[in-house]
């Protein structure tokens, strides 16, 4: 945002009386493409990357802060146009429901791979040597317990709204753990930060790409590997009577757009479909922002400058 201001000033000083063009006339429509901004860094970066690339093609772009799930209402009505990160692990149902209305369109995978699972800091391995295998969890339930849950262990799950079936998983795998839901991402990592500062026991839900796995040394618990049958068929897996007796799925992160944009800005939509970035690159960018304190704009500008040939190809 500051950059925006600076560039305004720059434009003002350099060209006090020569008018700076805001958009060139080559593109199909100069109406601003509204890209949503949620509240986690990785998403800022992806949105800004996409936005800056579209700007370089001559489009006008506006970034609109919007809630991850609430945004679908806006995408369907055309108030918003593009959302760049819908995670299979957390947003699949909402995305499918939205696509079914016919008012939104799938803009393809971003190339990133969402990972989420039960996670513990490395120092917990001393107290619970059987990890990362999930069968060790019950032996260490006490180590992971708090006065309120004692003698059961305490697992801090993600926000209920992000689904994940942790209550079901604990029951189906017979884990002696109480599942507590954090409510928000911020609260979740607040507790992890707090525990990490004190080197205290914690078992919690962590996802990637995110800064947390980079900042805190830790590992994901290894559950029986996820398959579709595990979630759909109770007979599958260790517990013959219940589904969810396995780990969590890993999956795509997709972009989605308002259906009307297909005709309004076809080239822009194509560029978003071509856009691709991998986990390692994204993690590196996130770390630069969250742990090294650079601004999203600088990090994105730097990446764009260094990888011009890569992203130019997407715009063709």
């Amino acid at each position: 945002m500051k950059r925006l201001l600076q560039s305004t000033i720059l434009a003002g000083t350099v060209a006090l009386f020569t008018y700076a063009p805001i958009a060139s006339a080559e593109v199909e429509s100069t109406d601003p493409i509204k890209i949503t901004w949620h509240d986690w860094t990785g998403q800022f970066i992806t949105a800004t990357l996409v936005g800056e690339i579209l700007k370089s093609m001559g489009y006008n772009v506006e970034y609109v802060p919007a809630d991850y799930i609430a945004q679908f209402v806006g995408l369907e009505s055309g108030d918003l146009h593009v959302a760049v990160e819908i995670w299979e692990t957390t947003g699949k149902d909402a995305l499918e429901a939205s696509l079914a209305t016919g008012n939104t369109v799938d803009l393809g995978e971003t190339g990133m791979d969402a990972i989420e699972e039960w996670w513990y800091p490395l120092y917990m391995k001393e107290k619970c040597p059987g990890l990362p295998d999930w069968t060790a969890l019950n032996d260490c339930a006490e180590a992971f317990s708090t006065p309120e849950t004692h003698p059961k262990g305490r697992y801090l799950g993600g926000p209920v709204t992000w689904s994940g079936y942790d209550d079901e998983r604990a029951e189906s795998l017979g884990l002696d753990y109480e599942v507590v839901h954090a409510g928000t991402d911020a609260a979740l990592f607040g507790e992890i930060e707090s525990a990490y500062q004190r080197q205290a026991p914690i078992l919690a839900w962590v996802y990637a790409p995110h800064w947390a796995p980079a900042k805190y040394e830790g590992e994901w618990v290894e559950f029986p590997r996820y398959t579709d049958e595990c979630y759909n068929d109770p007979a599958w897996g260790i517990n013959p009577d219940m589904a969810y007796d396995c780990g969590k799925p890993r999956g795509w992160i997709k972009a989605v757009g308002w259906v009307g944009g297909e005709e309004k800005w076809p080239k822009a939509y194509q560029a978003i479909r071509n856009f691709t970035i991998d986990n390692a690159t994204m993690a590196a960018l996130i770390i630069k922002v969250d742990l090294e304190g650079q601004t999203v704009e600088d990090v994105v500008a730097e990446w764009l400058a260094e990888n011009e040939s890569t992203w130019k190809a997407w715009t063709m």
């Binding site: 003002g12 509240d39 609260a187």
Partner: protein
Amino acid sequence: MNSTVGLSSRHKFAYTWPLAWGVAFTVVAFIWIGGDLWQWAVKAPKELTWKVEALGSCTSVRLCVTGFFKFMVSNDAYIFPWTFKEFTRFVAACIEFPYQIIRSFLASGFTIPLSGGESWQSPPISWLGLTVVLTAVAYRLKDWKLALMVFLCVAYLAVFGNWESAAITLSSIAVAVPIGIVFGALIGILGYRYEKFERAITPILDLMQTVPIFAYLVPVLFLFGFGPVSAVAATVIYAMPPMVRITMLALKTVPLEIKEFGKMVGCTKRQMTWRVLIPAAAPGLMVGVNQVIMLSLNMVIIASMIGAGGLGFDVLASLRRQAIGDGLEAGIAITLIAIVLDRLTQAWASRSPAPHHETKPTLLQKHKNLLLALLILAGTTAISFVAPFFAQWPEQFEISTGQFWNDLIKWININFFDELEAVKVFLLLNVLKPVKAFLLALPWPGVLLFLALAGLQLGGIRLAILVVSCASFILITGQWTKAMITVYLCGISVIIAAMIGITIGVIASRYPVLKRSVLVFIDTLQTLPSFVYLLPVVMLFRVGDFSAMVAVVLYALPPAVRYTLYGIQQISPSLIEAAKTSGCTKRQLLTKVQFRLAWPEIMLGVNQTVMFALSMLVITALVGTRDLGQEVYIALTKADTGRGLVAGLSVAFIAIITDRLISAAAKKRKQALGL
């Protein structure tokens, strides 16, 4: 005469109520003990559904609401000559227009289209110019102290690098607050004039304040579109009710002599309202203005979730990356805006008419100041083309205390966690858990019985019917368990908040010096986004009920303090003098005079504390509680209108039950005291 009659009738029925309660307790205890025999009564019933597809083919309350809503946004619902959606979009456009203009001035600058598809971007108003002008305004309205305060607050925004976000936030506040004040006051005046109208709007006001914002966020988004306008609409819905309530209360408490005087000099109804009542009620009305500003700024965070951007967005983003300090700085910026706006409006309302001049300032003189202000703004903004300093505080001179706060919390966390944990575990095991278990174990017919009895005793058959039907709604929509958790969490928090709040209010009313810092403290508490202190609370107390309770107590404290203070202060000084001369001790003065005369305000304060606590519910869902707040939050993220509104209404009904019972009790007591 009257009192003797009352006394004898009270004697006559003296044993009826205790007896009735005794019977009720016995029945409930009986059900409780014989738990297995009365399964249906002990277990909370599931959601009531029906097989016959009546009323738009829906089979439960929840689904009917969703269905109704789908109908409203479809193209079949008409408010002649538009469809309903077109109508709301028109309202949205009416809000959007001033918003865009203000925002262009303050934050983004104007884009002026030129020929050939090109356009030219003007800069926003210079921060330096605005700072100077606001400071000057403060000086003119009051004194150099206020000017200094305003200067420091505004300078903070620039120096801490929050200017641009603050300008965006201010734009939506600048639209929402006037709408809230004007419409709130108008509705309040109508309510004062027509008692029937007052009775009709009171439940609506309760709903507006207690149905959690998240519950109507999805409908608002549907109707007003995505972006700042929806945020403004939601803000107005949330911030207006206190203005209406306080307008009615303030008009009612205008001394009779003033009203008589108005009648005597032959005022028309309109003159009576605008020339006599409103000026006389001004101090009370200003409390309402204060509340609208505070509550609007309170919505900043939630508004940013649906596209308002600005400081709220900064807070959320900081907390996401665990930058407590940065979040706090942005949060404080919100508070400072609130304080500046509030103090300026207060000063404007109570300004002494031109103290430096013998004669009243002429129109020309007034315009001179306005002209000067405009000149400064235009001048500094123009200079900002060539001097970057005028456009933005240089980044290298920005201050940040972020690291300090992070380190402070870390230090507390490492050194005091065990002590805090001990206190927490003690309270949790000895107070919270037993209360929760008790409430959850209460058989629902018993709760209904108690409510009916309380309603009957305090307000008669109509009150009893009201509270029982409210509770039944919760029952048949299948939310009983979650509602009981809500009652437990809010109940404990309200009791704690009211005890602390009233105490602070009483102490502050005695010492003017203390009063000022208390006011600053509660203003800060009320406007500092709860998210900011939620994170440290979670770090120190873990996710769970205790953290939620701490957050609710902090949030619900201000009204208890504020109304107590207001109640005690509005007691006429002559009464206090009279009490003193008749030999009251300080203690007697407090308990026998001040408390009793301030009783209506204090109860209004407690009432508001309940409302605040319930409106905080959704936020507590963010730290992981399992109450109705969580239900609403889940509904929001699934964009499930019916589920959200039903859960939201349940929250509101709990509030209404509490409110009606408290009010009835207060009224009864007042009558008994002969007030």
